[in-house]
């Protein structure tokens, strides 16, 4: 994205800062970093403590090592339901994000690259849908699924998760920026059909953007709590966030220490995705900011 390039050209200007201002800025930033990272640090430390001692000691430093044993314990409670929950989360998020990204890419591409009657209306409706969050539609969805008998099936979780107005919006911004009209025109002159051009020319150019869309949607589905909590009753169908909340509200039926280790395990896939794919995150956030 252009904005990230701009930062490289900005003069670094080591000289015109005073030690006092450097100290002040760094002190505040370190304080902020402590606030943001302390809870995650606490979770990591607690998860490594021996079983049953998650809350002993200072909370911020290690005290014995029981991580391996703890993990085994989490996967053992309730006949290993935790493993099922993690797989469910991966299945729901992966499937919905994959199908959703393709559908969003097609729709966004059409809005960005074709002039057609009704385009303004379609784009307006999508923008409005970006603004009204999905959660608002969850209760109505539950009522509708209840009527047509879709409750307690994976489809009840997947179908709403596939639709991502924000993904369409991102795809249209990226397609407008990155796919040159000349390339599409050249494809037409070569006798390629519109869908062929989309698949073998435009999709390729848009690949980095598609990764961004996939990531945003994957995380959104993974983090969605209200929808699965309402439409999936059967514990073996639930994703990990619903399962964990159930454990944490079980009034000690599942030991608090086990909940801590489960919480720790449930965020590992997302933290890895964040750390390794930072570039794509920034691309998505930047597109949101410029518009």
């Amino acid at each position: 994205m252009t904005p990230t390039l701009a930062s490289a050209t900005r003069p670094r200007g080591q000289r015109d800062t005073t030690p006092a201002s450097r100290f002040g800025v760094m002190a505040v930033l370190l304080l902020a970093a402590f606030y943001f990272l302390m809870p995650i640090w606490w979770l990591i430390v607690a998860a490594t403590k021996p079983a049953g001692h998650q809350f002993s000691g200072s909370g911020l430093w290690f005290d014995g090592f029981g991580l391996v044993e703890n993990i085994a314990l989490v996967f053992d409670v309730n006949d290993g339901i935790f493993g099922t929950w993690m797989l469910n989360s991966i299945f729901y998020s992966g499937t919905a994000a994959l199908i959703g990204t393709i559908i969003s890419a097609m729709a966004g591409y059409a809005i960005a690259k074709y002039a057609f009657r009704g385009r303004g209306v379609v784009f307006g409706v999508i923008l409005a849908a970006v603004l009204i969050p999905k959660v608002m539609f969850t209760l109505p969805l539950f009522l509708m699924f209840n009527q047509i008998g879709l409750l307690n099936t994976p489809l009840a979780m997947l179908l709403p998760s596939i639709v991502s107005p924000f993904g369409v919006y991102l795809a249209s911004v990226f397609a407008a920026q990155s796919v040159p009209d000349e390339l599409i025109e050249a494809g037409r002159l070569d006798g390629a059909g519109e869908f062929r051009i989309f698949r073998s020319v435009s999709m390729r150019i848009m690949t980095p953007a598609l990764v961004t869309i996939f990531l945003f949607q994957f995380v959104e589905v993974w983090n969605n709590y209200l929808l699965p909590a309402m439409v999936l009753n059967d514990s073996s169908l639930q994703p990990v966030v619903v399962g964990l909340v159930g454990w944490s509200a079980s009034n000690g039926n599942v030991p608090a220490g086990t909940v801590v280790v489960g919480a720790f395990l449930s965020i590992i896939p997302l933290v890895i995705a964040f750390l390794s794919l930072q570039r794509f995150w920034r691309a998505g956030l930047t597109a949101g900011a410029i518009k």
Partner: protein, 304 residues
């Protein structure tokens, strides 16, 4: 559609049809998963549920278009929950965005070192699912396990009553702030990066201080990003559900099952009072839609 022809008329038909073919999968699912449920909920909200006194027969539905809506606006618990998220939004949104803007400006300032670390450090909480963050904070708050209170007790001899009547809402606000500040900070920071270097150079030549530059140049220039994050945060407040739901179980009664409008509607679903739950969610969706529309109009983004 895929055949290329030199005939002008059919080429025009092809171009006319193609975008709609690309849009069809999305539009069909969008209609089924967004428009249909809202329409269904609206229709259902026009009926009332009649149970006979003994509960021996199945409840029957009667068409009574205003009954549920009249009840929504006289339902003390629902109105109280609306007031609560309003208070929450008025306090939490400015605090969070002020913090996000402040951190973004500091990371952008020339005195900052380790920009990458601070950017990522603030953003990392966003990787933690909202409910998992709430589960985590529930241990940090819990009277039994809180390491925060453990530290305060041993060092200063006092502890924070996180779930007292006065503090419970702000304990919830803290979890939300923790999750979303970094996300908003990165949006604002990205906007700061688009300010041309010459503009900042000119300000420096004119002798403007860093504070002055931040206030008079940087903040006005990231206004669109601030508006965007404000709207998303207002909407986020209105749909407050995950954090209070998770914290409820350890709050000792300070957080009730009708704490926020969405929790109130959900508790009606749990009581199988579907028409009334439908009315509550229609009212809530309308309020959110109108609020963000008005905000966009006021700030002049809507009239593009």
């Amino acid at each position: 559609m895929t055949t290329v022809t030199t005939n002008g008329a059919s080429a025009r038909v092809r171009i006319w049809r193609t975008p709609w073919l690309f849009l069809t999968p999305f539009l069909v699912l969008f209609a089924a998963m967004y428009l249909a449920p809202i329409a269904f909920a609206f229709i259902q909200s026009l009926f009332t549920l009649q149970r006979d006194g003994l509960g021996l027969t199945a409840p029957t539905l009667t068409f009574d278009p205003f009954a549920n809506y009249a009840r929504v606006f006289t339902d003390d618990e629902f109105l109280a929950s609306l007031g609560r998220v309003l208070l929450f939004g008025i306090v939490q949104v400015p605090v969070m965005l002020g913090l996000a803007l402040f951190i973004a400006l500091l990371i952008d300032s020339k005195s900052a070192r380790g920009r990458g670390f601070f950017r990522l450090g603030s953003f990392l909480p966003f990787a933690v699912p909202g409910v998992v963050a709430a589960v985590m904070w529930s241990f940090l708050y819990s009277p039994v396990t809180s390491p925060i209170n453990g530290f305060l007790e041993s060092a200063f001899g006092f502890s924070i009553p996180f779930f007292s009547d006065g503090l419970a809402l702000w304990s919830v606000a803290n979890v939300v702030t923790w999750c979303w500040t970094g996300y908003n900070m990165l949006i604002i920071y990205s906007a700061l990066q688009t300010i041309p270097a010459e503009t900042l150079e000119a300000a420096k030549i004119d002798g403007a201080s860093s504070w002055r530059t931040a206030w008079s140049i940087k903040i006005p220039m990231v206004r669109p990003a601030l508006i965007l994050t404000t709207v998303f945060s207002i909407i986020g407040s209105a749909q407050l559900f995950n954090e209070p739901t998770v914290l409820k179980s350890i709050s000792g009664g300070a957080i009730t099952s009708t704490y926020t409008p969405l929790m109130a509607a959900q508790s009606q679903v749990a009581a199988q009072n579907y028409p009334y739950a439908a009315a509550e969610s229609v009212v809530l969706a309308l309020l959110v839609g109108v609020t963000s529309f008005v905000f966009f109009k006021i700030t002049g983004r809507g009239d593009r």
